[in-house]
Symmetry: C2
């Protein structure tokens, strides 16, 4: 199909499609004349994936380029692809070297060993948990660690559901795209469900009157 | 304290502190002479909150300004503050008007009613769930809805833990900052825990050999 048809089918403006091609996110069409290129189903599908990662997943164009490069490289092991897809959720914060960091590291090491998770503390995600907990502790929220096991229970349940979903699809198609979609869009789904569940939990905890009045600032 | 001391205590460079003051994120210090200002504990605390939202929460400066304005306005009801804090997780995608959107909306309405959640489908978070599900369906992942109840179970558990945590702190301090920290940093904690749990679930599902070989692209 021509680029105009691709644009109509996906709702992505023609200049935007050309921009994605220039940035290497979308392979160029097949040239049919010096000024015309033909696009196929794979372009349409890739374009939808780009838009979903951008609009729903909240990834930046450069991050999408990394994720798609991983998807397109059959030599790249699956967990590296997952890593690239999950990278945007990583923190950019440089490591602090203080008591809060040390305590948070110890909490995470203990959590992993206590739950028997077959991963280890050198996993970048473990670092991200530590960094977030240390940042909370520096804000006087060190006791957030008390809810960590509730979070871990929930994370295990989501991870089991994710893996079962991906595994079911292995027979159907290349698993890698499924992992990317599940990781990035699944994150968006969970985040929104958590916000909905907050409203419900708040109604159950505080009743119809809502939470107590805000206390004036000291 | 002088700005240099504030910088040393928080690890934030002096020009960055001045930038936050110009952008209205941080209140100016008390002028002690035409060229010198004194900063206090509240500045130090606010600065740590800004850095945590920025570095760990991944919010942009403009988003932090919105969240802090909500925190500082005692007239603003709690759920509006939560809304501002959660806003960054919302999707920017414009509403599609297609079969996938209609089906996703129906799924979310059904989910809310089936689980007895005291919220309704006009909640922006409900829209975000629909949009993510519709984007997945357009990518051929319509059957992701099959794991939605597992996600909802986990979201309920996290929301209960969050509310119990916030509620426990009501006596201690202004609740609002706690809600902001819990929403934004709690999100970062959960996201990283989910990635850790993926590694564990993958090891349990596929054993030590890892997932099956990637199939070559068609």
């Amino acid at each position: 199909m021509r680029i105009g048809e691709l644009s109509r089918r996906t709702g992505v403006p023609v200049p935007t499609i050309k921009y994605y091609v220039r940035e290497g996110l979308l392979p160029p069409g097949q040239l049919t004349s010096p000024n015309q290129a033909a696009y196929g189903e794979t372009h349409e599908r890739r374009l939808r994936l780009i838009r979903a990662l951008l609009d729903v997943g909240g990834l930046k164009v450069a991050e999408i380029a990394d994720v798609l490069a991983a998807v397109d490289d059959p030599e790249r092991p699956l967990h590296k692809v997952l890593g690239a897809a999950a990278e945007r959720f990583g923190t950019a914060e440089s490591e602090h070297d203080d008591a809060e960091s040390a305590a948070a590291h110890a909490v995470v090491t203990d959590l992993i060993s206590r739950r028997g998770w077959r991963t280890h503390e050198s996993n970048p995600a473990a670092d991200d948990v530590s960094k977030a907990l240390a940042a909370m502790a520096r804000l006087g929220h060190g006791d957030f660690v008390e809810v960590l096991d509730d979070y871990a229970d929930a994370a295990e349940q989501v991870a089991r559901a994710d893996l079962a979903y991906v595994n079911r699809r292995v027979a159907v198609e290349d698993m890698v795209e499924g992992v990317v979609i599940g990781t990035v869009l699944g994150e968006a789904v969970f985040s929104a469900l958590r916000r909905l569940a907050h409203v419900d939990a708040s109604a159950k905890l505080y009743g119809a009157d809502g939470p107590p009045e805000r206390k004036p600032k000291a």
